[in-house]
């Protein structure tokens, strides 16, 4: 960079004059100003969905949209780490599991807790919190767990890192499936207060989208994406890749933990297998189909795939066509979903949105 500066005709002196730096440095918040449109548009889309849902007022549809918002949180959480670092992680759902159980521990009625989970420490047994307080603790707990695991795992890269995160997920699942006095083992933990209003979920999804955006344009996020695209050059420019990955891993872990707490409150029941391979693959699919490298892709991937799943379920339940019911056979919904995903990926290998973001102006590619 410095060699092209007009102030250095010798090209050997790497130090720029203060004026030259000031001239080249973009104005403060220039990047933020340019890219803030994306999270705003995405939140507006979700807001539109939420408003339409309340206007329809149908209970099952309400639940569908709550699921959608929870998935948005989870997939954006995946995007923060996987999208920015380019390292495929299968383990993030492990933090969702941790978060969900923290929410369960803190919000279930103490009388019931003593019966079903007698192994919990005393202060947790006595605790009875509001759902949002529990969600904050779940977030913190998941973030701490992500910090501990991340310190170890972020030294790895490539496929070894992916498998190590997989091993982490399997480890968390094994522990939670067997530690019966604390987690109730594989039986469901019931009695978690259910939150039926969509607004808490919408608010959380909105906050998470803005956090993901803030991280992506932060110094650390930009460094991480530089390392994703050109690892060698980034390392040579002084980027500490494991550190930047760890930052993203912890933020992602925190978001996944919050998503877990909200999952627990949206269905009222948790079991370890809720947060294992199938959820991992559903959320990963949404991320990849939407486009791994873009926040827009991760949010709209969820919206599009969820809409598709609902449409197929609707067809499976049967549509009246001229007096007779036309229904798809059971199981065809999943098959169709799989085939559609393969077709989308075959036509657009980098996902529907690739690296592009939703903006008001012309799409710029990164």
């Amino acid at each position: 960079m410095s060699t092209s500066s007009p102030a250095n005709t010798t090209a050997l002196d790497p130090i720029l004059s203060a004026d030259a730096i000031a001239a080249r440095k973009p104005a403060r918040f220039a990047l933020a100003g340019k890219s803030i449109v994306t999270p705003i548009l995405l939140v507006l889309i979700l807001l539109a969905i939420a408003v339409v849902t309340t206007m329809i007022g149908s209970k099952p549809f309400n639940q569908v949209i709550i699921d959608l918002f929870v998935r948005v949180i989870l997939v954006v959480g995946l995007y923060v780490f996987i999208g920015n670092s380019g390292v495929m992680s299968f383990g993030q759902i492990g933090f969702t599991c941790l978060g969900a159980y923290v929410a369960a521990w803190l919000t279930i009625n103490p009388v019931m807790k003593k019966m079903s989970l007698p192994g919990l420490p005393d202060f947790i047994l006595k605790a009875k919190m509001e759902y949002w307080q529990a969600a904050i603790f779940a977030t913190i707990f998941a973030a701490v767990a992500a910090l501990i695991f991340g310190r170890i795992l972020m030294r790895l890269s490539g496929i070894a890192a992916s498998i190590a995160t997989f091993a982490m997920l399997a480890m968390i699942n094994t522990i939670y499936s067997n530690w019966d006095r604390v987690t109730g083992a594989t039986s469901s933990v019931v009695g978690i207060p259910i939150v039926r209003s969509i607004w808490p979920y919408f608010t959380a999804a909105g906050i998470v989208i803005f956090i993901a955006w803030l991280h992506a344009i932060s110094r650390s996020g930009l460094a991480l994406r530089a390392a994703r695209d050109e690892p060698t050059a980034a390392a040579a420019s002084g980027i500490d890749i494991p550190k930047e990955r760890l930052v993203a891993f912890v933020i992602s872990g925190a978001i996944m933990g919050a998503g877990g707490a909200l999952t627990a409150h949206s269905i009222g029941v948790v079991t370890p297998d809720n947060f294992y391979l199938s959820l991992t693959f559903v959320t990963l699919s949404m991320l990849v189909v939407g486009g791994m490298g873009s926040l827009t892709g991760s949010v709209l991937g969820v919206v599009i795939l969820s809409a598709l799943i609902q449409a197929l379920r609707f067809l499976e339940a049967g549509v009246p066509v001229g007096g007779s019911m036309l229904a798809l056979p059971k199981g065809l919904q999943e098959i169709a979903l799989g085939i559609i995903m393969i077709v989308i990926l075959a036509l657009r290998p980098s996902g529907l949105f690739g690296n592009r973001e939703l903006t008001l102006t012309r799409n710029r590619s990164e």
Partner: protein, 301 residues
């Protein structure tokens, strides 16, 4: 003691065969094939007539053993090649994450296809019941099947080594695994090699399905997934793309599981798998390239 050794070897054999099936495809295509577990399940269900009853209606399973075994292997190989032609061919040259998700979606399709035809209930089948009888060797009573599993695995491994080292096709495959574009430039036909790899991998899936089916006496749609996870991990620990590494790591994982089952205190035994996964992370930390690093997978600048 001998019992432990044989348990470890037979469990390791299953993992090794699974790992080999994944490593073969990864070698030529850089594809981590998540559909492999579902190919395993499909191979065993091919023996049954489609029905949703709990009692399996045996169809091809009544064949005598010398027809039964080739039939299952052929089903596995056929399905695997079909997957290549219909799906994976379109994903060459895309990034690994996309391929991985595509293979997962394909596995999803196969699994739900089976579910639609056979329902999710595990079905009891008795294949070659003669193999479940115990035999006595050096004072230990072992199921005959365990012995056969180990012998068959070793035979398959030897066969594969000879195939890869001594035949022209094997040579082409090894060349492709090492440097695919260079091999193509030197006249190795890409489609043939890749299809060969898929066929071999599918046949291995068929072999696992047979062993598993005889061992447990049930056909379960989920059965592929359990082997797959460990096989997948062994492939990476062994060094992705390295066939010998995959086999070695498969046996090591099997041994680690069995040994931990024995030496862990009773309270900790349910958490056995957590220890195994912890060991996996440790191995990766010290040898991120895998135990036997394959040539050509090192990062280049």
């Amino acid at each position: 003691m001998l019992q432990i050794v044989f348990d470890a070897l037979s469990l390791g054999s299953l993992y090794a065969l699974g790992a080999l099936g994944i490593a073969l495809i990864f070698g030529v295509m850089r594809l981590v094939n998540f559909a492999h577990g579902d190919v395993i399940a499909f191979s065993i269900f091919a023996l049954l007539w489609p029905s949703t009853d709990a009692m399996a209606i045996v169809f091809a399973g009544n064949l005598p053993w010398f027809l039964l075994i080739p039939f299952v292997l052929a089903v596995g190989a056929g399905l695997s090649v079909l997957c290549e032609i219909v799906v994976f061919r379109r994903f060459r040259n895309t990034n690994p994450a996309t391929m991985m998700i595509a293979s997962f979606a394909l596995g999803f399709v196969i699994r739900y296809f089976l579910l639609m035809l056979y329902s999710s209930r595990p079905k009891s089948i008795s294949l070659l019941p003669i193999l479940s009888q115990p035999v006595e060797i050096l004072g230990a009573r072992l199921p005959l099947l365990q012995l056969i599993t180990i012998i068959v695995t070793i035979a398959i491994l030897f066969g594969l080594v000879i195939f890869l080292r001594r035949t022209r096709f094997g040579l082409e495959m090894r060349a492709a695994a090492e440097n695919f574009s260079m091999a193509r430039m030197l006249g190795v036909r890409a489609n043939r090699v890749i299809m060969g790899a898929f066929a071999l991998s599918g046949a291995l899936a068929g072999a696992i399905a047979l062993i598993f089916g005889i061992q447990t006496g049930t056909a379960d749609i989920q059965m592929g997934a359990a082997v797959m996870l460990m096989a997948f991990i062994s492939t990476v620990i062994g060094g992705l793309g390295s066939l010998a590494g995959a086999v070695l790591a498969g046996f090591l994982l099997g041994a680690a599981s069995v040994v931990m089952q024995v030496i862990l205190p009773v309270d900790a035994r349910p958490f056995r798998d957590a220890f195994v996964y912890g060991a996996v992370i440790l191995v990766l930390l010290f040898r991120p390239q895998g135990l036997i690093a394959a040539r050509g997978t090192k990062e280049r600048v």
